[in-house]
Symmetry: C2
Subunit: 243 residues, 2 copies
Amino acid sequence: MRFTSEQRLDDGVVEREFTLGDIPGVLWTPPSPSAPVPLILLGHPGGLRKMYPRLAARARGSVAAGYAAATIELPGSGDRPRSPAAEEARADLRRALAAGGPVDDEIVDRLVLPLVEAAVPEWRAAMDVLLTLPEIGGPVGFAGGVISIGVRLAVVEPRISAAILFAGSFVPRAMFDEARQVTIPLQVLLQWDDEGNDRQQALDLFDAFGSKEKTLHANMGGHTGVPEFEGDAGNRFFARHLK
Amino acid sequence: MRFTSEQRLDDGVVEREFTLGDIPGVLWTPPSPSAPVPLILLGHPGGLRKMYPRLAARARGSVAAGYAAATIELPGSGDRPRSPAAEEARADLRRALAAGGPVDDEIVDRLVLPLVEAAVPEWRAAMDVLLTLPEIGGPVGFAGGVISIGVRLAVVEPRISAAILFAGSFVPRAMFDEARQVTIPLQVLLQWDDEGNDRQQALDLFDAFGSKEKTLHANMGGHTGVPEFEGDAGNRFFARHLK
């Protein structure tokens, strides 16, 4: 990992951009931590630059609550090389949505499954490196989307102790089987009026998770309208499970 | 209102039993409030004596967070006179549940609608008196069940500014129309594995509420298994809307 920039934000949070091989990422840490703090991985739909304002706001909230926060670019997003197959799946998805019809499972599979396959090892590699930093200690939480990436991480990565999953994207059928294998505490966020999201599928996925402690927080509003108070609720969830 | 007993609990909370006419109730207030505190009405399914341990625990949490809490017995419950019609409806409900079949809307109507009609004016009368006490100031929140009582109160009682509703009981069809008229901020609690509760009906009711701010918190476990952390989440919800 190579740090490429460092700045101190107005609230004292230290923001560092880094690259891990050819993967760009951002790390936010407290001004002067007296002891190593738990790490929260901030999931997102891809496109770090476009997502930056919202990611930075979430990160500041996490740091204020006593965590480090980090994120990396997704494969095929931002400045990273495009995958022709993913681009084709994305175009097929857009066509299906524009036609107003339901989206074929086959398109969702082509779009999401390769993304999960490619992204999850990268998040794990980022964890390997981030956890060697003296200011960061375990345990680790995951917060955000793409929900299928969060599900796979929760299944395969024992260092992730709890997750806040944003049920706001298409979920391949196969991920429901993986969801049953998830046992860590979960808080699942659902935007009730998210037009691009299948509400019933989100409820079914919540039902499928194998975790003994899982809470669904459904709020009004569209995809990007998650209320600010969910940041606080998320910090309290992680406080119960990461501290 | 006549206070019939007063005791100081181990955490300093002042617990007073009272009667309002022939309605018994309990009031919990902070040890020595320096200013009037908002009031939280604790809803319950009826039977103050049986419900006391859980009500007192909820009340202590509310008082610790800076509120007064109060509850009154429901019509036909505890030591209050039984209504033969309600007893018959309750027996019919038990029979329908024992037979494993769905419960006729007609039984639910007979059980719940007269209860709402009788209880809501009593809760409002209790508010009239409680709000005259020097240690209590507005605004008022409602927290708990019977959810139909909470819905009606939210519609007809302008002094109630926010409500946490427990979606754990049978809801007459007519209450869905009232739910559409609710505009105050809501937090709705749903126990995902509550066997005696219709999960889909609870989701439909959540959908029906007219409130711009409404949040569903669904947790694992049965009817009585609401996780302890929902007490904290409830206090934070009320802190946003009652303070």
